[in-house]
């Protein structure tokens, strides 16, 4: 573990928000389905648990992660810690190694949250049928991997933008980018495909994060993605992740 990883982890542990979120997520996922009108249809309850867990993960936990990455970036640049870390590293690939160190840091809470959601979904809403239960676990695992490939590079981007501009700007930029890809691009895509070349270009270059939202498959028990399709999704998001990381390395600035 590098200096930045250790520093980030001890900071969030001292702040304790991460513990609150990791513990609060399963509790809320069990409480929220009580609002669902399930008196006449009790079978609504269990999928609603999984659904609540994944909604909270995508919105609340990602929101917190981007915010935390952004404020960390600004703080480290302000108190000169990045300059110190920069000078400690050997001369080759310094920026890359600093970025990698902090990325590992951001991925730890992300993995913690996603593991909590996975447990909630599997313990709270496992189908009774043996075969269906297997499919349910595979589907949840697929969801976990897609979540991590999208969220971790975005957190790094938030960190890098904050080192150059500020945490406010960084958080707004990253969450707008994420929200655009997750909620709006899906509405836009069918229209853009049939529109003019600039529209088609926007459709090609815009982030299609909504593809990673497998909640529909969970709620309506549609089974996991076929393996080849899942590999393509993962490849697409890994590609986006690499592009995002490249931009982050370009934007990153250690000096005050």
């Amino acid at each position: 573990m590098t200096l930045l990883t250790r520093l980030y982890l001890s900071t969030i542990l001292a702040n304790k928000t991460v513990i609150l979120l990791a513990a609060g997520l399963p509790i809320l996922a069990y409480c929220l389905p009580q609002l669902v009108p399930a008196t006449l249809k009790p079978s609504l309850l269990e999928p609603a648990r999984a659904q609540a867990g994944w909604i909270l993960l995508w919105t609340v936990c990602s929101g917190w992660l981007f915010l935390s990455a952004a404020s960390t970036g600004e703080e480290w640049r302000r108190n000169g810690l990045l300059v110190y870390a920069f000078s400690r590293e050997a001369a080759r690939f310094r920026r890359l190694r600093l970025i990698a160190g902090s990325t590992i840091g951001f991925s730890v809470p992300a993995i913690l949250f996603v593991f909590g959601t996975f447990l909630t979904s599997v313990v709270g809403a496992l189908p009774g049928d043996q075969k269906e239960a297997e499919l349910w676990i595979i589907l949840n695992l697929q969801s976990c991997f897609l979540y991590l490939t999208i969220v971790i590079p975005l957190a790094t981007l938030g960190f890098a933008v904050a080192t150059r501009f500020s945490s406010t700007v960084s958080w707004i930029l990253v969450s707008c980018h994420f929200g655009f890809g997750f909620f709006f691009q899906g509405n836009l895509a069918p229209y853009l495909v049939s529109s003019s070349p600039p529209g088609q270009l926007l459709n090609l270059l815009g982030p299609h994060f909504y593809l990673a939202d497998l909640t529909e498959r969970l709620v309506f028990k549609m089974g996991p993605l076929p393996f080849s399709g899942f590999a393509q999704f993962l490849g697409y998001f890994a590609g986006w992740g690499l592009v995002t990381m490249a931009v982050a390395i370009l934007i990153f600035r250690a000096r005050q």
């Binding site: 249809k41 999928p47 609603a48 700007v169 509405n187 909504y210």
Partner: protein
């Protein structure tokens, strides 16, 4: 947080929402009765939370109907909060609405009714409000109007007629078929004959009775509030009377 950061942040948010408003205004609606559920983030439409949100909007839909369309009071004007809400949304101007403003309001109500309906097509109240709005208040040309009425009714049937646990959606399915029967009195319904529609209405009521008896037997029915049970019974009796005449 410095002032400069706030300014930069505000600028980004403004750009984002301004751009997005422009885009939304120029892009057709993503989900309609024909391609339901469409783009559905977090699978809200059709899930338990969709049902919940649809229930929450029942009151607003009802109020919009009574205040905006009939221009009269409404059952919840008996409580003081109800009276105040009525007061808050009652028009008080001697100048009549211009034609374009009226058109704007109609489109707005239509959009909201569609939103509530698409969250849970099996909700009786929101479906009924949408149907009556389309037939009575909208100024859609006749050909498109009939295809929209048919599309909403078919969607209700498609979603509700799969139900094997909850009796309520079957009443919505029955009322959707009844609406088709009434609206297409002279013109033939696309893809369904009159006897088929009548058969579907009776079939839906039979399924409702069967599922209600199941829920009576295992005690789920008695967990409903008295008011809700009475509401469901009223609907059942109304539809039963209609079915008897067929």
């Amino acid at each position: 947080m410095k002032r400069q950061d706030l300014a930069q942040g505000t600028l980004i948010v403004c750009f984002f929402f301004l751009g997005w408003t422009l885009v939304i205004k120029n892009v057709p609606a993503s989900s309609t009765a024909t391609n339901w559920p469409g783009h559905n983030p977090f699978a809200i439409r059709g899930s338990g939370y969709g049902k919940m949100l649809s229930r929450f909007s029942e009151k607003d839909v009802d109020r919009a109907w009574h205040i905006g369309l009939e221009g009269s009071g409404h059952s919840d004007s008996y409580t003081w909060q109800g009276r105040y809400r009525l007061l808050k949304s009652t028009r008080n101007s001697s100048v009549p609405l211009s034609a374009s403003h009226l058109q704007h309001i109609r489109n707005d109500i239509r959009r909201k009714l569609y939103q509530a309906f698409l969250l849970d097509p099996t909700n009786y109240t929101t479906y009924d409000a949408l149907h009556f709005f389309l037939t009575a208040m909208s100024d859609i040309p006749e050909e498109t109007l009939f295809s929209e009425i048919a599309a909403t009714a078919f969607l209700v049937w498609e979603v509700a007629a799969r139900e094997e646990e909850d009796p309520e959606p079957w009443l919505t399915a029955a009322v959707a078929m009844m609406n088709l029967d009434l609206e297409f009195n002279n013109a033939p319904v696309p893809s369904l004959s009159k006897p088929e529609i009548h058969h579907r209405i009776k079939d839906a009521l039979r399924s409702f009775d069967r599922l209600r008896n199941d829920s009576l037997a295992d005690g789920r029915w008695s967990e409903l509030s008295d008011q809700r049970r009475a509401e469901i019974e009223t609907r059942r009796n109304f539809l039963g009377k209609y079915a008897e005449r067929l």
